[in-house]
Symmetry: C2
Subunit: 436 residues, 2 copies
């Protein structure tokens, strides 16, 4: 336990210093165990497990561009992202792990207690068993706080989801090397530090009920807000019913505008992302050495909520967002979610709505501005600027078909049902919980 977060930072810095990790970018066509399929050009592991990189053609009426094709990660197995909670001195503490992921700009970040792909826990890697996993597999002794299948980046993954779990135990739990207990308040402080609390931790914590504290701690507040919950669900249903998302799987070498083999997979204009290879040497992981493809975004993204106070309650402007890999037609996303560089070649009217309001806001209106990483197990140096910005007077209460104002409590309640809130919005929701 840390009395002050400065003690945490000392512990974390010590771990960073003493553990040897090395990540070396490598040509995809020389990546150990991985190869391009001779016919389709799909990138595959020789075991047939883990994931593949394939092509996808998308046709939708709910994006700035109506039709496109792109490479996409196909990983049908759902892993487990689990956080263990236990009270010490009457205060709930969350068990997090200083974990190396090859894609992290700083390698080490704070991950959930368990962050395991199905291949991990069924031991395809032939690595060490996953510590604390038994608390998250049935039959469990602990008390379930939260448990839902949640989507991950729809721009990069086809229908990927992970099981997000929070389990509370009362028994003693041994504290293993590399793990630490943190209070919600301490996590709140660490969430204001760039690239420290990883995406999986942010995602899982978004499922914590409001009654668990933080500054927005009212339970049963689901009908308090500009709209009742029935209206919000209807808005979501309307968005699903009104929009089109048609998809067709393609061989990776059939994706126009992308190079589908060789040292990396990339877009002809250098936009969006590349697929690169890395060789990894790690201490404190199930496997000490491995090679894998990673998706490397071409530029930093912006993930932002516009917020305003309505009838004395904070509201967020939520967008029903369609992405290439969505499980259903839309999920609820932040007001703005994009990599601005990807839109520079488009005319002004096709830039994402509210992007300019967010980036041009006066400093006094910016309530949160922090850089966080996306999952370092699949994404290489994928950073996003997470913002919460007070909306100007010109953003109306009725913001239009795909946008709706709701309270963080309402969004949180929806997140507890799987596949309603996308990972970017969940991540930002967790940060918001600790806003003054």
């Amino acid at each position: 336990m840390f009395r002050h977060t400065s003690e945490f930072h000392d512990w974390f810095a010590e771990r960073r210093r003493t553990r040897g990790h090395r990540v070396t970018p490598t040509r995809l066509d020389r990546l150990d165990g991985w190869s391009f399929h001779p016919e389709t050009g799909n990138l595959e592991h020789r075991s047939g497990r883990f994931f593949t990189v394939e092509g996808l053609e998308v046709d939708t009426d709910n994006r700035e561009v109506g039709r496109w094709a792109q490479p996409i990660i196909v990983q049908p197995e759902a892993g487990i992202l689990g956080i263990l909670v236990r009270e010490f001195g009457g205060v709930p503490h969350f068990l997090l792990q200083a974990k190396m992921e090859p894609g992290n700009v700083n390698l080490l970040q704070l991950s959930p207690t368990v962050q395991a792909t199905r291949s991990n826990f069924t031991r395809v890697h032939r690595g060490n068993p996953v510590p604390y996993l038994e608390h998250f597999l049935a039959p469990r002794r602990g008390r379930i706080v939260f448990d839902a299948l949640q989507s991950e980046q729809g721009s990069w993954f086809l229908r990927k989801r992970n099981r997000n779990m929070i389990v509370e135990v009362t028994e003693d739990v041994p504290l293993l090397d590399g793990f630490c207990w943190l209070t919600l308040e301490q996590i709140g402080e660490l969430l204001r530090v760039d690239n420290l609390v990883n995406m999986d931790t942010r995602s899982v914590l978004s499922g914590l009920p409001g009654s668990w504290g933080g500054t927005s701690g009212r339970a049963g507040a689901e009908d308090r807000g500009l709209h009742r919950m029935a209206e919000l669900l209807s808005w979501f249903t309307e968005a699903k019913a009104a929009h089109r998302l048609r998809r067709r799987r393609l061989p990776l070498n059939g994706v126009k505008g992308w190079s589908g083999s060789g040292d990396r997979v990339e877009h002809e204009d250098g936009r969006y992302f590349s697929v690169i290879g890395v060789d990894v040497e790690a201490e404190g992981r199930e496997v000490a050495r491995w090679s894998q493809p990673m998706l490397a975004p071409a530029s930093r993204g912006v993930i932002a909520f516009l917020t305003r106070t309505i009838d004395g309650l904070r509201h967020l402007l939520v967008r029903a967002r369609t992405e290439a890999g969505c499980l259903d037609v839309v999920e609820m996303g932040p007001t703005v979610q994009c990599a601005p560089d990807n839109y520079r070649h488009l005319p002004r009217e096709r830039r994402p709505r509210f992007l300019d309001e967010v980036l041009g806001a006066a400093p006094a209106r910016v309530l949160l501005d922090v850089v966080h990483s996306e999952e370092g197990g699949r994404f290489y140096h994928a950073e996003n600027r997470y913002l919460v910005v007070e909306a100007g007077e010109d953003v109306p209460l009725d913001a239009g078909g795909d946008f709706v104002w709701m309270t963080p409590e309402q969004l949180g309640a929806l997140a507890r049902y799987g596949n309603h809130v996308n990972v970017e919005a969940r991540s930002l929701l967790t940060c918001l919980r600790f806003l003054r």
Copy 2:
């Protein structure tokens, strides 16, 4: 308005007498506008609209049989099933319609205010406009009570869903010929009559919040029961994560054991269902005359909840059920849902669990026993016996992995989020609402 339901029955009998409807079974290969595709054998309409009958191969670990192939209806468009509500003298009344559907054993049943496929309301049929539709299309003036995309028969439809809506209005609404206003109490009485309240009406009404009356009328009761809501959601997540549902589309003429062309599509042993053709002549429909394929079950099914009182509250034994056409791996279904005849050739241990408890229950334990029809627009003479049976002492509180006890209020709360509760369970939930 009817003061007594006897007045309703007079009105309904009068309509049955005076409207001319005729349904004539016809060979599929002579069905106007429909044909078998020369290569795939899929049954298709010449416009490319409405629906097709194709083949599906299923591989799952959550059914009595692990692997099979079958014909299935593919209808990707979501229609609207909407009920309009208005208070008269302080009492909410629901606007229902005496509607002919060619598959109904008795042709005429009580349908929602609006029961329209997307082809209906976009006028592919070139028929008359759908009355009252404007109350269910955005922008709407009424108050949304319920609005969710809900699944339909997963054994017969591939990922089919319809938008279920309840909209409350305060303005005057003209009462058109063939429609009637009924109170919830009157509908409750009519639900005890065989084959009268149609499937779509039962499905939509399952979304009505408990606070709207009936005998189980407590709002906010979602955490009251043997399990908290977080535990129920976790049980559902576990079922999705633990089970496998892999599917592959097949050409209809590639489905082994089924004849895929000619006068009808049927199973070689006469089990499960057939696809037949019908010519229809109708009064009071958008189109006066048409032909279509229909799915005709081989025998009557059983849809049943076991129930018991736990801590003073009625609980239902809900099953996480996998079906061929599920949108996701499982949905919540009744305790028993099957056509017993389909299992006669299987050894006793592969009969559906709890089927014998339900069919063999002493009369005093049978709280509900009524025959209702499945949707008469696609299913021909598809009847199910809907049962609610008091469980014996031998059914434990921990009934095993795929079964869980929950209150009707909890199941109702879950139904208000789309794709959680299957159509059979929703239908029975509506009937349950009015149990003494």
